[in-house]
Symmetry: C2
Subunit: 129 residues, 2 copies
Amino acid sequence: MNDKKNVQIGELAKRLGITTRTIRYYEEIGLMGPPERLGGGTRTFNKDDILRLKFILKLKELGISLNEMQELAEHFDIHKQDFDTITPKLIEILDLHISKVDEKIANLSSLRHEIVDYRLRIMDILNKK
Amino acid sequence: MNDKKNVQIGELAKRLGITTRTIRYYEEIGLMGPPERLGGGTRTFNKDDILRLKFILKLKELGISLNEMQELAEHFDIHKQDFDTITPKLIEILDLHISKVDEKIANLSSLRHEIVDYRLRIMDILNKK
DNA sequence: ATTTTACTTGACCTTTACGTAAGAGATATG
DNA sequence: CATATCTCTTACGTAAAGGTCAAGTAAAAT
Ligand SMILES: [Zn+2]
Ligand SMILES: [Zn+2]
Ligand SMILES: [Zn+2]
Ligand SMILES: [Zn+2]
């Protein structure tokens, strides 16, 4: 049994409902930073690592792309791992996202209108036959 | 000069604001059917071809994927090229799309709500410091 | 000690709708 | 005829976010 609090990749993935590939991928693109390793090379994740990963997943849920997160990460203090140091940059990004979402909603609404119209015209054609 | 009404690919693309690659691609995946060719192999498109292409672009505008169009195309009478033979299948697909769009709108709306909430919580943290 | 999991890196696969050469042939114009 | 401009096919590249092997190690359990 592990007496340290550190967790291996499989366990962590299971906990968060993602795959190990995902975690390695986030590390690969620099979102996660290199974790500590055991003697043999096995990754172990500490509490901060886990918090960071959860934070990433939260942002993803909010529709923020990994790319955007990378830009965002540049504004985190790299040496402090706590997220009390969230800068106004995050607010900025969230605001930008709110307006993007608004825009998408507007586009979809007018798309919906168009589809309905088109549908009606086709129904007319069918009925007049 | 061409005294026939048939048009070559470059001209057609320019007219419709797409690229020649797009037209060849639609043919490649079977959306467009092989056009007539000149002696040397150059494609020429007649009125019906053009109508069909415009129809495809219209559906694309409505958010219907090429894949869906292929399924749709299976329900067209392959030998008749007129679009009076639009079957109820198109209506079906449009209806499906309307509900998909509705779903997307709903998702985006709740996403927006979440983002705003999250933003507020962060603002709180920043202000209490 | 040995089997059974778990983990490692690397590399190729997936989807969608084309973009972008490369190299060769065709068409239009001077 | 020469030249410029199309057009042809073939085939690899692209973005996003991982999925899916494969071959080789390490850790955990028996
Ligand atoms: Zn974004
Ligand atoms: Zn209307
Ligand atoms: Zn669809
Ligand atoms: Zn709320």
